[in-house]
Symmetry: D3
Subunit: 334 residues, 6 copies
């Protein structure tokens, strides 16, 4: 997806240039993982034109595998992003209808070949929201991954504006989640998709409390028994510049809370959840028996994402580990 | 007026480019109103050269009426603005002597035609400070508006550096305010123009207390009995990046306080008072019987102005209302 | 030294342009002093190529004397600076090996001529770290200045990455400090160079306490009896954007603490210590009998440096004095 | 339409920012006319989102009337423009399918009201190419304008990539042109739409000869007897930076050739034909009895367009007239 | 003088940033000379504000002496420069009325001290055009320089828009030129100031012939017998991007023509005449007995100026000499 | 290698930002080939720091294989590039001494593994110029490629400023060329390395004649009998903006001339020779039996390079073929 944003804090109407980035849910996770040193392949469909080429080139620089990307369709999806400040929230204008990706159909990707040497499959709730074809392709992939015994993770990632093609998010996601081993969401996703609500919270007031979300995890796990690992990211929105950030991890009945980071001067909060997912998958590989380490890594990684411009989390494992050890001083390293 | 500012936080001496904006007291109010959907006409005098044309074009994009703008004189007034940071305050260097506007003379504007369908007339204390001709033209306009029964509002807007043409601010403003229905000022204006002082305050220390300013309003209303509505904006200057912002509204003996906003990462504080005035006039039309709503709207609107680059307050009514309802979380809207 | 930094908060890998500045320890102090109105000469060695010319031109604009700069050697030293944000610290990549300056040798500078009308000599611990020739030249200069009775100041400025040419920092610095009248350092320098440690502090946690550093000053003064004045800058690193900043001054047995400034939105913290040194030397000239004023001036000056882009402290004496008087409100001056 | 172009001569793949302009066939003509001082209204359909608002604001600054613009549909059409250089031609990637404008339907615009005080109606061949609804709306407008006796002009503007909705360009355009009084096209349009070919020309080799196009005009006039005035723009493409530019005007059997301008350092050639059309309409009003003046004005105006960045021709009548008088020296005016 | 120009080829109305340079007639000559290694002092009057400081700093970087610059007055003169392209000429909008310099008065500069060690005095016709005070100060300086036996050069530099203060250019310049040893002008200056005309030329058509200007030199020398050396620069304006450039030098009855340079891709032609003057003065010092070398150096130097952005001619003696030897190939030097 | 260049036509001294690109001889050829769709591996040594990472990421985006790049050494080589204009040539300041690559030693690269599936090996004369280790590594690679029967090509690429490590270019290159099958050079390389001179040419005057270089090829082939294919690029330097460009190909006694391209508005001429080499290798694969096609492709490809910013030739095969067919019109493709 092409991301176009006015420079700095300008409003759309004031912009005479747009900053150009490429990104979006799944690619953000792929870049996170590639950046931590894990081999990845990003599977999507890009138009066979110069804008699609530019997107491909952009991804490639971050070491993401692009071998299975299908080319075709008429246009690259776009989202316009206006950066908020203080009480003025960021605005996103989606322009992704009829994108190349929206025209994907089951059969277009040879998932058996894709999964040949794969050790993981990740998808997000944005994909089935895009179009019926995308939803069916997602289901196709999930089923094949499942058959091949590949662990499957899902970020619920609910986007109200996108679910327009006919079916409801709940109906589609329920079918897909049945095959998943791991699910994550933010404070609102589980409620918005499945109606499972934390007993008491006020997201708009900037207050989120970790405790309440254990209930949400358990309710979700009951609904989808295959889910062994569930994580909920917890964002406290004090202002457009200042958020708190944390998460809880629930694993087979136990829950683990990460520290709460106070992110006082946000650079770019887009892709925060994706970078958490990237950190989580890395953590699951790196610390398989240590759920606390896993969630600590994932939260530290995604807290750092808020200091990086663009959709992608361009921080190193060493930087994440330094923060996990408690050094949030931001001192100059020289 | 042409506004030239070094990009970001650069000092004048470091700048190799200047950001170009056009603005200034009255035009800022006009843009605010146009932006909220009220038809407006901005009356001024611009030089008949390419720089005047550029200014005109800049205003026009924001939907401000420019039909009564007089063209002539030799130059457009300029102000240079250096953005401060933390303890380093912003610097303004005025270069507006001999501007086209300063050469305005009574008779140059056909005020009867201007006011034909007008429902409001607003002027600020900057105008009569510029030159004797400007002061006399302002008096001419005020008198004609008064005759025609058009409500008149004034922003005291005291600028010490501008009052050089002979008469004192007090002498001139006293004559003008007699005809006004509404006046606003900041914590310092009333004292600096009329010597009316809040009992106890320390502006440079960043502390302002709403209570003290009711006294100021009442003293002002006593002096100018026509004034039914008076508002004082209250800025707490914690640093160049961090201010608090509020106001009180006094209406025929009653006073109304707005919430205090904590603006922790200011984008541009120039035009804050003007955006308050714009919000106030809009509020007076929109909530004629609800002074609390009026001041709440005006303060929320102008708090948001601090998040917008340039002199103009480019926020929508919906955005102001969202903040009035208490959502200052700055969450991404997507 | 050429300083190359990605614009804004971009990471090195994201940069398609670099901001170009020139600076470095001693030149930063020289610019500070020139800026406060004291005549200065900056002595160094620059390559006789276009990049050396550009550096020279850059310095000249800030009124630093360049008459004794030697030209020759093969390249200008470079440092790459990536600006951190929140928990992500800034990164410095040095590329100064084999710089023109590193090839300086005793005898290349005619120090007697340099010091002819000089009232002060300042050097920093970076110089002897660069190369053996630089260390020997530094010793040569220090001895001649000492013979001529010129007061000598030193900023310990320990840079672990630079001490590679053979001798240890302690060995070299001990020989040099014998001749010095004044020394400054930050919370870590004294420990890293001479092993003198504040009883209890945790720099990475953002906590520094002035009291503990009196002990450090006294230990240092005992070791180098010529030192009459010692100052320690105290930085509390809350995040890459938010630091506290203060210092203590120790003078012949008495110590003086400056106020602690809360720098909530740092623009550029590089050169903080150098700007403190510049303020200190200016203070020593301006308030010879008032150590409290001296350290207050130095801390206020260097607190303001954090609001100025680049290595140099481009603030005026008036701005420093305004802050010393307690006005940290950052209000617009117009 | 939103125009996004890499800065300078960068290729799409190299761009990290896009320059943002708004424009497109009919709006370009409207801005030309507004700029020459003629009152204009631009009729289109823009999405009711922030990007549509930004487009509207952009147009408004150039004094184009926007009162009849319909708001609705889902997205603003986009075109990506890569600037060519020397032998490398510019690339345009269209992304305008499903634009708000493409969803226009007959009945959405109240043409009777639009044409109430209109003295001219202009449309281009791009409109009916966009969608069936757009073609039908165009036909609706043309018929109503015809009934009301308003002169109608058409720029054939053939775009092969756009004619995808079912009918052929020839079929649709034939129906529309029947009502038109004036038509223009470039060297290729007439051939590509109606198969009428200049006897001998080689556009790719940069050679065009005015003489041959008289034949084309006459053939076109025979086919559409209502056409009294036909103009053909003649571009010689020596390279992406260097074109020659001229036109012939055919009026009721007589033909008039303009001078050939040698445009050696093109700034932006997009909108060249539109600026010719703008000049032509202005010329028809200004010099009603002087076809030579008309074509001279139109060619001089559009030659100057090549020196202006963006789609719009921001030159004054005085500048065009100066060039018509033969002053192409480009001397500084001071 | 502050020079503000839209970036690239943008028109004033399109600019959202201005490039910031400082320059103007005499300072341009001073920078040229300083750049060629001659010690210079630039004498002017700058306002004692931040903009004046920025101007001073800008000059200082180019090694121009600023010791005799008077500070005071209210504003720095400004000129707005829009870069032309092809047939569209550059536009200059002057905004220099009431500048600090315009308020200079005889007695403000201690010319005896200025000239103490001076070997040359240069002034241009712009100075006496600014104001009566400037004209009288110029006369004062010229007379004192004359008394002290310092050679005086003058660039006629006629600017019609500036001569507004009362007296005509001819009247004032006649009085001043009596004391001058050397005068230069362009193809138009001599005619516009003194009515001395080349027999036949058409500047706007881009044709200038060296031969005709010998006549002009002789007529001027007859009128001002002290003038021993006269030079006329010859610009052929083919377009805003493409000029030819040459000059003739007349010395005591003999004339010397320089080669004609074909400047096909002009970067910045402002300051062309000033850079010629700089080259001429340098040449007079360097090749005192070789008028052909002098004019060749001056023309080569000023031809190169057209390739340098800004008012100043930042080329080295080596680069000028390389061009004088005939190497105009523009090959990469590596 | 890191390439740092002032934006546009600014001189080094005027630059406050540098454009950042990465490139250099061999990588430029690799990108050309990758861009034409051939799989490539670029073998070099990059420092294991953030600047080395940034370089690696930059290369990767263009699809160049980076699997065999060795990491280590202390710094990335840098070159500073100032763009010339008209008669002012571009300046290159090399700062590549002690680069990571310069510290390469035989044995560091496992050439047998590198060449496992290789079909070609290319190196340039810059490599052995850098350091003795680089020369020996080059010899090591050439010998192993030779043993494995891999075709070897060499670009003589003489850089006088680089050959400082002890041996002469001639001595080293003679030993290396013995193993090569193909060699290319520009008009000067063969003379500067081996003293073989075209009978008559004047490069600085911008005149080169293809005929004379057949002699050069034959002399070279006689000296190195293994060379079957030799090409000489022919640049006519009319100015920094305007060059002609062509080449001759000599193959086993026959010679083939390509068309001469007139490149009137150069965007970036760095990497011209490398892009020729890339085109030549592609041509040798694509048209193995058609030397005329080969040289036509290589010249067309490299002519187009002059229109692309940076070191790399980012044009497609389709674009090259379009130019080969004679379409140099630079028309907009839409």
């Amino acid at each position: 997806m092409l991301r176009l944003s006015p420079p700095g804090m300008l409003r759309f109407r004031q912009a005479h240039t747009f900053d150009v980035q490429y990104g979006g849910g799944e690619s953000n996770v792929a870049v996170s993982l590639a950046n931590f040193g894990l081999p990845t392949e990003f599977v999507t469909r890009l138009p066979a034109n110069d804008i699609g080429d530019a997107c491909l080139q952009f991804l490639r620089q971050y070491n993401v595998g692009t071998s299975y990307i299908s080319r075709g369709g008429s246009r690259l999806g776009i989202y316009f992003l206006e950066n908020g400040a203080v009480m003025r929230g960021s605005q996103v204008v989606y322009d992704r209808a009829n994108s190349a990706f929206a025209t994907i159909q089951p059969g277009m990707v040879d998932w058996k070949r894709v999964f040949q040497n794969a050790g993981w499959f990740h998808w997000t709730g944005i994909t089935p929201a895009i179009s019926e074809g995308a939803a069916l392709s997602c289901l196709e992939a999930v089923k094949i991954a499942h058959e091949l015994g590949i662990p499957i993770s899902c970020d619920l990632n609910y986007r109200a504006k996108l679910w327009n093609w006919g079916k409801s998010a709940r109906e589609v996601m329920e079918e897909l989640l049945v095959y998943c081993d791991i699910a994550i969401g933010n404070e609102e996703d589980v409620e918005k998709v499945f109606g499972i609500q934390a007993p008491e919270s006020n997201v708009a007031r900037g207050k989120v409390s970790a405790g309440q979300y254990i209930f949400v995890c358990e309710a979700l796990a009951k609904k989808f028994p295959r889910l062994k690992t569930i994580a909920i990211t917890l964002r406290g929105s004090l202002s457009a510049n200042h958020n708190t950030w944390s998460a809880i991890l629930w694993e087979e009945g136990y829950s683990y809370s990460a520290p709460i980071y106070d992110i006082t001067h946000i650079v770019d909060r887009v892709g925060g959840g994706d970078s958490f997912m990237g950190g989580l998958i890395y953590g699951l590989f790196q610390y398989p028996d240590n759920p606390q380490q896993i969630v600590d890594f994932a939260v530290a990684a995604s807290a750092l994402k808020h200091t990086v411009f663009g959709d992608f989390n361009l921080v190193s494992v060493a930087e994440v580990e330094k923060l996990m050890k408690g050094d949030a001083s931001g001192r100059v390293s020289r």
